[in-house]
Amino acid sequence: MELIRALGALAEPPGPETARLAELLDLGTPPDEAAFSEIFLFQLYPYASVYLGPEGMLGGEARDRIAGFWRALDLEPPPEPDHLAVMLSLYGRLAELEAQAEGETAQKGWRRARKAFLWEHLLSWLPFYLTRFQDLAPADSELAFYGRWAQLLQDALRAEAADLGPQATLPLHLREAPALEDPRKASGENFLGALLSPVRTGIILVRSDLQQAGRELGLGGRIGERAFVLKALMGQDSSALLRWLASWARQVSKSNSEKHSLDGDIASFWARRAENTASLLTELSQEASDS
């Protein structure tokens, strides 16, 4: 599936080839390096492990599972197997191998592998990740290219899902994902860190979300990585911030529920996680307000 591979290549820093790919895909004016940095380096890190790992960080078990997929195919996993460009390139390669395979059995084997990769490692997070481009890369902004790119990738993945058919079980990443623990019960758990783990919370919290929260709540923003900013905001008015986050989680849950019919159990999982997060944060907010 060359289209998907080409879309993956656009998640790499822009180079001379970007313009050619952008033109081929009718995506309009190619992005500059600043746009790339803003979207992929500051907001939406293009690594599956950030969204599927319980730590919400690069690497870890989520990356190992994806590397394991390469090994299962007797392929040498690359250093960053969970980078979006690498994953989409592998997907393209699997389609190629399927097309080149001799005999029906071999062909079916590659198709099974492609389907497993699509559902386990791509559709388990990408629909929710790509949705965030709608508000972070709106049509009238300098990041508009990436909004169009995300939409096209979203469409292409949906088409693939339709072509390959549904998968019966929830992806392992999601089945094994621990929930967001109630800080009142958990011992020593880094609750703020866990809030930045999408697979636990069901929400993807990026830098600009935190900035927005600060602005709307009249809190002083700090410059730094997300955990640092979150801690700083919490230190100023935890009740308001938790309320804000709960409301945000509820919106996300609603949005994911609406997709339920389209993306099946996966969307349901993400919606449920967001709803649970909303409930927990609401409770915590009230407690903080009372104390």
């Binding site: 060359e2 591979r5 790919l21 081929l24 040498e76 250093p79 460009a85 690498v86 292409a156």
Partner: protein
């Protein structure tokens, strides 16, 4: 547009782009390697100037490939030639190189330092005072060439060919200079190999007929290294990356290394063996495989020369395989784990576990030994031989993940002219006492000359520094200073060294981006050639300039060797009377000297299968293709050539010996790959060897006398060494039984990870990382001596001592100390300016010393260490180190192994606290003792005169860099004692 059409559009565009040889997707950095510039943009590559930040200032480069010239691996480099200044700005890896695959160690990029080294030699120099006095004048190349050519011509005319010698350290192109020596009719090639790898080579050659190993690490299940391979061993970059690949796939790594080297830290089993006991460990594993039946019986039956073994060693036994297996088990039954444990100090249970791990590898068992134990010990050649025994038992020979003889994983192209054979035998390099020496016994040269066995009228040293590198350097110094022994010494070198101080001419040669060579090395199961080229020449030619001589683009008057040798050969034979000219003459323009363009153009057009076709696909001539990409993969997946069925055209009037060796009268097909290998003798009626009989067919077999893997070496048996006819264990000269109780073993053979002998000493980045060589000493022993890290100790060898700083560590076995041979560089004259070439010496890594001689007593004392200095490079003002290590090799006597001729580096030493008056770096040597020790080792030999079975000086089938005509290979008085 719908998704399907978009998909088709992208596919079509990709196909079209890739059909043009261009890259469609930007360097898939996370999928393969760090993104390399796509090759279609190598003519105009843009990077931002980091120094201009935050401004976006573009710098434009032309990317030109070449081949690294620091260690022997010949990894690919990509020179970034600044298009404005036409100078090299940096070196990175060449992604098109099949061996290194775009990856380099620190020494590759540091080539830039060597180009810009303010102390490098830029012009030909001639001495004007006494040899070694440090007085030089700049001369023209013409003057130097005419002088050299005149002397060589006279020597040849007067039949004194034996007085011309070329002594090489780092080899350039495979066979280039050897062919020129042969073209001159001179058996004058001398290498450094007997202080390097000839021990290991012997072990491999007796087994396979091929003298180098090519392990297929990447596909191995178990890797067994007798060396510090990942850090500093041979081919460490191409091999190390493949070892790590295998490890990532779950391979087990077994490392025999007395030191806790970087390699040992990566091992699953680190066996810190007693130096010299390695063969015993190997044999205990072999014994385990044999006694437990965990060996590949079918392979052994099929490919070992067991019938010959039975016939020679057990003539009374019927020649059945079952009988052989019984005898095999009996031969090795004494090599129990307990016995090996006693020798090595490794626990028997650990050895058993290792042996089971080896057994589990099956045919995916890769092994390697090159220097290390094979270079350290008397009998070290049995280390590689017993190591290969494990491969031979498992059938892990030329299998995926196994061990290939290197000639199958290497490609040497046929040159434009093939030389004749010299008509004399050089007794200085191949003396009578060492008929089985794998290579020239180069390190004995001063002693042989001292005994009046010969002298040299013209002596070339070429990227070789025997005064510093070889054992017993003061003997070298004595020889080089004596004009009766060395008439003229020309040092061909890019940079000053301890040997060049004692030259008559110092002739500046280019670094890796300033010269031509073709290389091919055994890095994996495939064959490739790499092209080294003067990158500024290639860059200027891309811009349309015509360059006819590499000096036009090199700094100063730095030249490349190939043009130098062609020119010199042309001048030696001005009228063609000596018959040399045809070997260096143009075919396109008869009567003219061959140019390097024609020389390489011919090879690439005619001698490299597949290259012309590949070049044509891109619309290029083969030479242009190599200038553009720097490397070409000739073949992949060589399989097992010994199983090849010989075509019937090669089978004519066959004869067969009792063990199935087949001879033919059919002429040999033209040799495509000229990689060195054994050349077994024809039969008594002149038929050439063609193969071996197996299952009724004639198969290619191995280039050994028997055509099979030689478990039993008839060569060793018939040349007087019957006791070593099969792989066995020889107790080293540093075995505890050969040492006094207060002596320790000194290991000096290891490298420092970022340096490579004297080659890299003018690379400032590397010097800053590694510039000294303290003595590794175990914590307990240091405590007993009362020394701590940094304290001075005196290390006493058989013939002198050196004073060095201690480095106290748990990473060395008690009873053993270790000091890397890499350091201790020196110069005699401080601030001695040499016209046109800065200073005599290299200031970043050389101490200034005084040399003191009192009769046979020699001393060296450090007067000043390295220090900051003003130069064209502002970094030289930032030199913060003064310590450049200690030159321990001066105190080592020669230890020639009586069979392989290898210098056995390990020393039996006494380590004491420094004495009053001792200063760091002090050296003291008794030259008389040195000569006595040389004689003591001579008594171990079994000479050709006494033991040659056929009146020859050396088994003809063994590899020799230059092979004289058959008549010259006969002993002077045939049959007198034979």
């Amino acid at each position: 547009m719908d998704l399907k059409k978009l998909n088709e559009r992208v596919s079509a565009s990709r196909q079209e782009t890739e059909a043009r040889g261009e890259t469609f997707y930007p360097g898939a950095s996370r999928i393969h390697l760090a993104s390399f510039p796509p090759k279609e943009r190598w003519d105009d590559w843009v990077e931002l100037d980091s120094k201009a930040w935050p401004r976006r200032k573009e710098k434009r480069f032309m990317l030109v490939p070449t081949t690294c010239f620091n260690c022997e691996s010949a990894c690919g480099l990509l020179a970034y030639v600044n298009k404005d200044s036409l100078q090299v700005a940096k070196f990175e890896g060449n992604p098109e190189h099949p061996g290194s695959r775009g990856r380099n160690c620190a020494k590759g990029p540091a080539t830039l330092n060597q180009l810009t080294d303010p102390d490098r030699i830029l012009y030909p120099l001639k001495r004007v005072g006494e040899r070694g006095e440090g007085k030089w004048k700049r001369v023209s190349w013409d003057e130097a060439l005419d002088d050299l050519a005149g002397r060589i011509r006279k020597a040849i005319q007067e039949k004194r060919q034996g007085e011309v010698m070329y002594h090489v350290g780092r080899p350039g192109e495979d066979g280039f200079t050897e062919r020129l020596m042969a073209a001159w009719g001179v058996d004058g090639h001398n290498s450094h190999t007997n202080i390097c790898s000839s021990g290991a080579r012997a072990g491999y050659q007796y087994w396979t007929g091929i003298d180098r190993p090519s392990p297929d690490h990447a596909r191995a299940k178990v890797i067994f290294l007798v060396s510090s391979h990942l850090e500093a061993g041979h081919y460490f970059n191409p091999h190390a990356q493949r070892v790590m690949e295998a490890k990532k796939n779950g391979a087990k790594l077994i490392v025999l290394d007395t030191r806790l080297s970087n390699t040992a830290t990566h091992a699953d089993y680190w066996l810190a063996t007693q130096p010299g006991s390695e063969a015993a460990v190997h044999l205990s594993i072999a014994n385990h495989l044999i006694q437990t039946g965990q060996y590949n019986r079918e392979f052994v039956e099929r490919w070992w020369n067991w019938k010959e073994y039975l016939a020679e060693v057990h003539p009374g036994l019927e020649a059945t395989y079952e009988n052989f297996e019984r005898m095999l088990a009996a031969e090795y039954e004494d090599y129990s784990f307990e016995m090996a444990s006693q020798e090595s100090g490794i626990e028997a249970d650990t050895l058993r576990e290792v042996a089971e791990t080896v057994a589990s590898a099956g045919t995916r068992f890769s092994t390697h030994n090159w220097r290390s134990a094979a270079a350290g010990n008397e009998g070290g050649w049995q280390v590689s031989r017993t190591l290969f025994l494990l491969n031979a038992l498992l059938g892990a020979v030329a299998t995926p993940g196994g061990m290939y003889p290197n000639a199958w994983n290497k490609f040497v192209a046929r040159p434009i002219h093939l030389p004749r054979h010299p008509e004399h035998w050089n007794e200085l390099t191949w003396p009578n006492e060492y008929p089985l020496a794998m290579n020239e016994v180069s390190f004995l040269l001063p002693h042989l000359v001292k005994e009046g066995r010969g002298q040299m009228d013209v002596y070339f040293t070429r990227v070789y520094n025997p005064v510093w590198t070889n054992p017993d350097g003061f003997s070298w110094l004595e020889m080089l200073r004596d004009e009766a022994k060395v008439g003229l010494h020309a040092a061909l070198t890019p940079t000053w060294n301890e040997t060049a101080y004692f030259a008559d001419y110092v002739l500046p040669m280019g670094h890796s981006s300033e010269r031509h060579d073709i290389h091919s090395y055994e890095t994996h199961d495939g064959q490739w050639i790499g092209f080294r080229q003067p990158v500024l020449r290639a860059a200027r030619e891309r811009l349309g300039d015509k360059i006819t001589d590499t000096r036009q683009v090199n700094p100063g008057e730095v030249w490349e060797e190939n043009e130098f040798w062609l020119d010199l050969s042309w001048r030696i034979d001005p009228d063609g009377a000596l018959g040399i000219r045809p070997f260096v003459e143009s075919r396109k323009q008869p009567g003219e000297r061959l140019t390097v363009d024609e020389y390489y153009g011919f090879i690439f057009e005619n001698s490299v299968p597949g290259l012309p076709e590949k070049a044509a696909e891109e619309g290029l001539e083969p030479l242009d293709f190599m200038r553009r990409y720097g490397a070409f993969e000739v073949a992949q997946g060589m399989g097992q050539p010994f199983e090849e069925v010989i075509p019937s055209a090669e089978l004519e009037d066959l004869a067969e010996d009792p063990f199935g060796r087949v001879f033919t009268r059919a002429p040999a097909p033209p040799l495509v790959n000229m990689a060195p290998m054994g050349a077994p003798d024809p039969d008594s009626e002149g038929r050439r060897v063609v193969g071996v009989r197996q299952d009724g067919k004639v198969l290619r077999g191995f280039p050994t006398p028997s055509g099979r893997l030689e478990f039993y070496s008839s060569t060793l048996a018939s040349w007087g060494w019957k006791e070593y006819a099969i792989p066995t264990y020889i107790r080293s000269h540093v075995h505890p039984e050969n040492m006094a109780t207060d002596q320790k073993v000194l290991i000096s053979t290891f490298r420092l990870p970022v340096q490579i002998h004297t080659r890299s000493a003018n690379a400032k980045w590397l010097d800053e990382i590694a510039h000294t060589n303290p003595l590794w000493i175990h914590t307990g022993e240091a405590a007993a001596l009362g020394v701590g890290t940094g304290d001075l100790v005196r290390v006493e060898t058989e013939a002198g001592y050196f004073v060095v700083k201690a480095w106290v560590t748990e990473g060395i076995k008690p009873g053993v100390v270790a000091c890397s041979h890499h350091m201790g560089r020196w110069k005699i004259h401080d601030d001695q300016q040499v016209e046109g070439s800065g200073e005599e010496g290299q200031r970043q890594m050389m101490a200034t010393v005084s040399l003191d001689q009192d009769g046979a007593q020699w001393g060296l004392r450090r007067k000043a260490g390295a220090k900051a200095y003003d130069s064209s490079d502002p970094d030289t003002k930032r030199i913060w180190w003064t310590d450049v290590g200690v030159h321990q090799n001066l105190t080592f006597p020669v230890h020639p192994d009586p069979i392989s001729g290898m210098h056995c580096w390990h020393q039996a030493v006494r380590v004491t606290r420094a004495q009053p008056g001792d200063r760091y770096g002090d050296i003291s040597v008794d030259a008389d003792k040195m000569h006595q020790i040389y004689h003591a080792w001579l008594t171990k030999t079994r000479s050709a005169t006494a033991h040659s079975p056929d009146g020859t000086r050396r088994p003809r089938w063994l590899i020799r860099p230059v092979k004289p005509v058959k008549a010259a290979c006969l002993l002077p008085v045939q049959g007198s004692e034979a």
